[in-house]
């Protein structure tokens, strides 16, 4: 089969690889019909997530048709149309019991690696490094899905297109959880750093959850325009305005009640020298994150407010404004999305027409064009927001 493989920093290549096989009784094999490139795939592309091996199959946002099931699978049947959540969860451990699916205690066979970096391990993730389990991803014609009775949601309504439900695999629930963690009270101001796909869904979800005012911060006008149109957000271009001043103005001096970081480890800073400083340190592995957005989110948040971190981080960060966090009684909430928890309620919101996730899609291409998709997404060429690949 064809699969999009990580071949080194800034190199992906669609190659012929063996078809996946059932390895555990609870596995299913899914023929992928649609898959997408995620902003977090760019962290792999740029080489900032450790423990990648040349030849790893990428991709953690995908859906398709079940073509084979292991003998332990009871809920899925061959022919089912499914969307698969990006974290792999066993459904039997204490974390899964608590619906903390992205912390599944059994799905990462390489937990020892993650323990070295993080103290304890989190769940395995499709196509996302060996410290996240070493699972082949879904930017491929076929993919093996472990614990098939636990993760995938069957889409029975054929009137829903792939594009409408594909983002249940990651970015819609991730953005939604980012907003949900803010415990939004009616009328709250929620600021979102990053107008990429997760930021778009975080902003739209904040509006759905009752925010009075949603403010989105980015530097690309096309991205800000989308947030204004689809989430009714106020927008701030950090290359043009002083973000902290502007946020204070919008909240009569208080600062936003909640701040969502939808940027993560490769953030960009409006000031050239500061950006260069962190980029050099990151390249020399003196820090693993460039956390400009997170720093500004913390500094900007109102006293006693909540900072929700949904952007991906991998290791250590410098110049973390802990004093601001501590002295101003801020609450930090974060985590890889517990996607399995959100599948049904969000599918319901899509079906009822409350939200149509297709608004983020700007590019559609064939799986074999994945390298081009990575390239334009990385460079934000041609107003690229979200690339969907079909097989």
């Amino acid at each position: 089969m064809k699969a999009n493989c990580w071949m080194g920093v800034h190199r992906v290549d669609v190659r012929d690889v063996p078809d996946p096989k059932i390895l555990n009784d609870g596995d299913a094999i899914v023929r992928v019909t649609s898959t997408a490139i995620c902003g977090s795939d760019l962290h792999l592309f740029d080489g900032y997530i450790p423990t990648m091996e040349k030849g790893d199959v990428l991709g953690h946002e995908f859906m398709g048709e079940v073509v084979e099931v292991g003998k332990g699978v009871t809920k899925l049947r061959v022919g089912d149309r499914v969307v698969v959540p990006f974290p792999i969860a066993c459904g039997s451990c204490l974390s899964c019991d608590r619906q903390l699916y992205s912390l599944c205690e059994n799905s990462n066979p390489n937990a020892g690696m993650a323990e070295k970096a993080w103290g304890s391990s989190a769940a395995g993730i499709f196509g996302y490094s060996h410290m996240a389990g070493g699972y082949a991803g879904g930017q491929a014609e076929y993919v093996r899905v472990p614990f098939a009775d636990v993760g995938p949601i069957v889409i029975e309504d054929d009137s829903l297109s792939d594009e409408q439900v594909l983002f249940l695999s990651d970015i819609f629930p991730t953005g939604y959880m980012g907003a949900e963690l803010c415990e939004i009270q009616p009328g709250d101001t929620v600021a979102v750093w990053g107008a990429g796909p997760v930021g778009q869904f975080a902003a739209a979800s904040a509006a759905l959850l009752g925010a009075g005012q949603v403010v989105v911060i980015d530097r690309f006008p096309y991205r800000l325009r989308m947030a204004a149109e689809h989430a009714g957000a106020q927008t701030l271009n950090y290359e043009e305005v002083d973000v902290r001043e502007a946020l204070r103005d919008l909240t009569a001096g208080r600062g936003p009640d909640a701040c969502i970081d939808a940027v993560g480890m490769e953030s960009h800073h409006g000031s050239g020298p500061i950006h260069a400083y962190d980029k050099v340190k990151q390249s020399l592995r003196m820090e693993t994150e460039r956390a400009h957005a997170l720093r500004q989110a913390i500094i900007s948040c109102r006293n006693g407010g909540t900072v929700s971190i949904m952007g991906v981080y991998g290791g250590m960060v410098d110049k973390f404004p802990l004093g601001s966090l501590m002295n101003r009684s801020l609450t930090v909430k974060t985590g890889q999305c517990h996607v399995q928890r959100y599948l049904r309620p969000l599918l319901e919101r899509i079906r009822s027409g409350e939200i149509d996730p297709t608004f983020v899609i700007t590019h559609r291409m064939s799986l074999s064009d994945a390298p081009h998709g990575y390239d334009i997404f990385k460079r934000k060429q041609d107003d690229c927001m979200k690339v969907v690949l079909t097989t």
Partner: protein
């Protein structure tokens, strides 16, 4: 000491650690050696501080000419003396730093030897200082020999002991039944090829040896408390005498179980064998941790969890040599 055997980590993701040696006699001998080493460490502090702060007075005390040059030498000796102290006082196993003291003594004696012949020295005082240093040297040699011997796994009975703990989301009774059925053990203990029960108490075990081949032995259950404890031991004549205990306790809330495992075995050729096994990548603490993670997977999900990068499931050795995350051919 208190480094290796105290406390048992209890994260739900599992934890393991191992020690080599005989848990009783060796501990006492090592304790005495380390008390001597610590005493010498404090002696270094006591000598080094006046050497650095009052080199002139020290020069006069040991009978050498109190020249500028000699003060500098005395100060340097003091710095050297102080430098050896933290290494000894900070460390649970100070062998290397105690040996550094022996080297420092040799240096002191050489310098004093030169002073003995130098003009302006009071020979009787220098000779007395040399005698004092020689006395300390003897103590240093003894401490260095003892601490390094106690750090060396070839003495101390040659038993390897490894412990680990994990929390599983199943009630103690169920975990007990699973473990009590010894035929289940090879499902998660990577080194076991098979275990066959022969009645309720005895069993026959076949394990893979680190260098290839197999080792077999008979074992018996020696303690059995339903729901909370199973202990077993190999019968006399086993090539690799071994024993183990698993203790079960309810985890706070929710019907989960804390599992604590304690294994001990005597590899062939004692600790030399244990060291040889390490050369083959065998680390008992890591093994028990891996085994417990697989145990949790089997008890909670029914199987060892596999991925393309780790098709055999959790195995630390495998983590160092991952195959790429693409489907197996």
């Amino acid at each position: 000491m208190g480094d290796a055997r105290t406390g048992t980590p209890t994260t739900s993701d599992g934890a393991g650690h191992a020690t080599t040696g005989d848990p009783t006699g060796t501990d006492r001998r090592r304790g005495a050696a380390e008390r001597l080493a610590k005493g010498l460490g404090w002696f270094s502090v006591g000598l080094g501080i006046p050497q650095v702060l009052a080199p002139g007075r020290m020069n006069r005390l040991i009978g050498v000419d109190d020249s500028r040059q000699n003060r500098a030498v005395m100060r340097a000796m003091g710095v050297r003396e102080l430098a050896s102290a933290p290494g000894i006082l900070d460390r649970p196993r100070p062998a290397g730093f105690v040996f550094a003291r022996v080297a420092g003594d040799a240096l002191d004696l050489a310098v004093l030897g030169a002073a003995l012949r130098a003009r302006g020295s009071v020979r009787a005082r220098v000779a007395a200082a040399m005698a004092a240093v020689a006395g300390v040297t003897v103590l240093d040699v003894i401490a260095s020999a003892k601490t390094s011997r106690s750090a060396d796994p070839t003495t101390g009975g040659g038993a390897v002991r490894a412990q680990g703990a994990i929390t599983v989301n199943r009630p103690p009774d169920e975990v007990y039944r699973f473990w009590r059925d010894v035929e289940n053990l090879p499902r998660f203990m990577a080194h076991l090829e098979s275990v066959h029960g022969q009645g309720d108490v005895r069993s026959h075990w076949v394990a893979r040896a680190p260098a290839g081949g197999t080792v077999e032995w008979d074992a018996e259950v020696v303690e059995d408390v339903p729901g909370s404890l199973v202990a077993w031991r190999s019968l006399d004549g086993a090539e690799v005498p071994n024993s183990g205990t698993v203790r079960l306790a309810p985890a706070p809330g929710r019907g989960a179980t804390e599992v604590r495992v304690d294994l001990e075995y005597r590899p062939p050729l004692g600790a030399v064998g244990a060291a040889a096994a390490r050369l083959f990548g065998e680390d008992p603490a890591q093994q028990i941790k891996d085994d417990l993670r697989r145990f949790k997977q089997v008890v909670e999900t029914g199987q060892v969890v596999r991925s393309d990068g780790s098709p055999d499931g959790t195995r630390t050795q495998r983590q160092l040599h991952q195959r790429e995350a693409r489907p197996l051919a």
